[in-house]
């Protein structure tokens, strides 16, 4: 049971000019499941390892339960971590792997036994306690790694891409298991992933990082509905949002003959901060309708149709200002357009997102 606070925490690797993690401010509540997400090299793993004590903190502080742990060694922080490749001790059995930390703490034998058995039952590992890791499948190893963290009953769980070595089906299954387990145990959890679907489905809140800088931290819903900047808008959601920088008229953003309306405040904000006469507008593939030629849609030449069963995604291009721009829209899977056909895309009213063309911030 603990809270975690990053206070202007920075990590600068020697010999690199740019911080790997730049003045990270983050408050994680007691029992919360927080997901750190971002593209590779964004500093999410580094942030996690700073909390674990495996990485130095060059500036700022990290607090667990209001106790400053910035310069404490890992073992003094009472945290457990699940690694991407599980990092099981190859010479120990499953039981010994899970009991190791407790044994080092001189926990009484019957207590160790009780906790290991309990965790094994929770993770369906009872039949494998006597095996060595190399005799287990990937999914079983992953569960042992989870079990090793659970028996510790730590203040905070840290998970560094624990699902990325599993196959797609097992990943989805384990994803829900971890979320359920975390809810049951109620232990504060920080989870790192590069997969925005994992982030959306598991996190109570999601923190998006880019180039070591925190972009936005919010609930998955809010992140999806109100992305704070162009990067978050493009990163969250699959297929990605259609984001284009287009000329600004006195009504809104102009996609050729079609204008997506903006409010008076948005128009003012778009022109501020060097935005000039352009504005960045985005709309999600599902926030569109395919309409008739005269209903005010953007004309798109279809060049690819993805059938997913429940949905179909239509990819196409349109020439805007002499450049071919790509769009993706969701369509009824039973009435998909043919290739090279021209379809007319009309975004739903007031579901599009507008950003300042120069700063990329939401307006």
């Amino acid at each position: 049971m603990a809270t975690v606070t990053y206070s202007k925490a920075s990590r600068i690797y020697p010999g690199t000019p740019r911080p790997a993690v730049d003045q990270l401010n983050l408050e994680i509540g007691d029992g919360e499941f927080l997901v750190l997400v971002g593209p590779s090299g964004c500093g999410k793993s580094t942030s996690l390892r700073m909390l674990a004590g495996l990485e130095d903190v060059d500036a700022g502080d990290i607090l667990i339960n209001d106790r400053n742990v910035t310069h404490l060694p890992p073992k003094a922080r009472d945290i457990a971590m699940v690694f991407q490749n599980y990092a099981l001790y190859p010479h120990m059995t499953v039981y010994e792997n899970m009991a190791f930390a407790l044994k080092l703490r001189k926990t009484p034998k019957h207590e160790i036994d009780r906790r290991v058995k309990e965790a094994a039952a929770m993770l369906q590992l009872e039949d494998y306690l006597g095996r060595k890791p190399k005799a287990l499948s990937g999914g079983q190893r992953q569960r042992v790694a989870m079990g090793r963290a659970i028996v510790r009953e730590p203040q905070v769980f840290l998970m560094d891409e624990p699902l990325s070595n599993l196959d797609a089906k097992l990943r989805v299954q384990t994803r829900s298991q971890i979320a359920t387990l975390q809810a049951k145990l109620g232990i504060t959890t920080v989870y790192v992933t590069h997969d925005q679907v994992e982030a959306m489905t598991m996190g109570h809140r999601v923190a998006v990082l880019l180039d070591g800088v925190l972009q936005q931290v919010d609930s998955p819903r809010a992140l999806y509905d109100r992305p704070a900047n162009v990067f978050v808008a493009g990163f969250m959601g699959s297929p990605a949002m259609n984001i284009k920088t287009v000329p600004l008229s006195d009504k809104g953003g102009r996609f050729g003959d079609v204008t997506l309306p903006l409010t008076r405040e948005q128009l003012t904000a778009a022109q501020a901060d060097g935005g000039g006469n352009r504005v960045t507008v985005g709309f999600r593939p599902e926030d569109t309708d395919l309409v008739g030629p005269n209903d005010g849609g953007i004309p798109i030449t279809v060049d690819l149709v993805e059938e997913l069963g429940s949905d179909a995604y239509v990819h196409g291009t349109v020439a805007l200002e002499g450049q071919d721009e790509r769009f993706v829209v969701r369509a009824d899977p039973r009435r998909t357009p043919r290739l090279t056909e021209i379809v007319y895309v009309r975004p739903h009213v007031n579901t599009h997102h507008a950003f300042n063309a120069a700063t990329g911030l939401r307006i």
């Binding site: 690694f83 190791f100 080092l104 703490r105």
Partner: protein, 332 residues
């Protein structure tokens, strides 16, 4: 230059002819194997014998025949002499000098592998990820580059003895004099002289142990070490519960390799004491009996018997090592 090379050139010809002949035979063999059998089943078998044959023949000439000859000789008193049964072996286990020799060999085989591996391991752990690790490791590894004879001569200077009234030239005795003690004759008093020679061997072998063990330590995945740190392992616990189990196969291989080298040690004894002062060891005594004391009518037979004993001691160690290597290959 007034040196006449023409005679040397004439001497080189046979060597060139030999090399050329070797290349011609091997090349011809490969060529024949390549073009000859384009048919059926016999092809693979023919290839197998074609490639293995030359190596097997050379092994038979260089290894198998001498082995048989040596074992036979060990039951005779000398090459032209009479059959003596097990007399040579009886001599080995009853003669006072050979018993001392066997005892010395035991000291060597117990001390060198254990201490060299231990020093190498401690050093590898201490310098791991330290600043200047490369230089520190080179310093320990360098003795490996010196020949055993050269190394022994260096140590003989360190152990050198002069009478107390003279100026000492040996480092160790000079230190003793500075400390107000009498200079010692390190290499002439038994049994301690054996241990002073063992120090030389450890000095040489510790570098080898260190390099192999250091590589094994670096091969431990970083995440496992990190997981152990998060689990709360102290450096001591880390070493015994994570590092040691992970590098155990490397420790075994290093210990065995040094054991084999130690069983066969010859150069150090030959250069330090020439086997005098009760400092002889098995490999040295074998040479001594067979070749230096060949005016002794029993010398050749005894030397052969000692060679057989040495062989019998080395074989199980080699077999064990081969097994270990195979086991490791299976794990991967």
């Amino acid at each position: 230059m007034d040196y006449d090379f023409s005679e040397d050139v004439a001497k080189i010809w046979p060597a060139l002819l030999f090399i050329g002949g070797f290349v011609a035979v091997v090349g011809g063999l490969l060529f024949v194997l390549d073009i000859l059998p384009r048919w059926g089943k016999g092809k693979e078998r023919l290839h197998m014998f074609g490639f293995l044959g030359p190596a097997l023949i050379l092994l038979a000439i260089g290894l198998v025949y001498p082995l048989i000859r040596t074992v036979t000789l060990s039951f005779y008193n000398n090459t032209r002499g009479k059959f003596v049964g097990l007399d040579n072996y009886t001599w080995i286990v009853t003669n006072d000098d050979t018993l001392i020799m066997l005892r010395n060999t035991l000291f060597w085989v117990v001390c060198v592998p254990l201490l060299a591996t231990a020093f190498g391991l401690i050093y590898a752990v201490l310098v791991d990820k330290a600043r200047g690790e490369g230089i520190a490791k080179s310093l320990i590894f360098m003795p490996m580059a010196i020949s055993l004879v050269g190394a022994t001569i260096i140590w003989k200077f360190i152990y050198a003895f002069r009478e107390a009234d003279q100026e000492q030239i040996g480092l160790l005795n000079q230190i003793l004099v500075w400390l107000g003690m009498e200079p010692q004759q390190f290499l002439t008093s038994s049994p301690s002289n054996t241990f002073y020679m063992i120090v030389m061997m450890i000095w040489i072998q510790a570098g080898f142990a260190m390099v192999i063990l250091s590589a094994a330590i670096k091969a431990i995945p970083a995440e496992i070490v990190e997981a152990a740190r998060l689990d709360g392992a102290s450096p001591w616990q880390m070493f015994w519960r994570v590092t040691m189990p992970s590098i155990r196969p490397a420790v075994v291989v290093v210990t065995i390799t040094i054991t084999i080298a130690t069983l066969k040690v010859f150069d150090i004894v030959r250069t330090s004491t020439n086997g005098n002062f009760k400092s002889s060891v098995l490999a040295f005594e074998m040479y001594n009996q067979a070749f230096r004391l060949s005016d002794d009518p029993n010398g050749e037979g005894r030397g052969a018997a000692l060679a057989v004993v040495l062989f019998l001691l080395v074989v199980p160690v080699v077999v064990y090592q081969a097994r270990q290597l195979r086991k490791r290959a299976e794990i991967r």
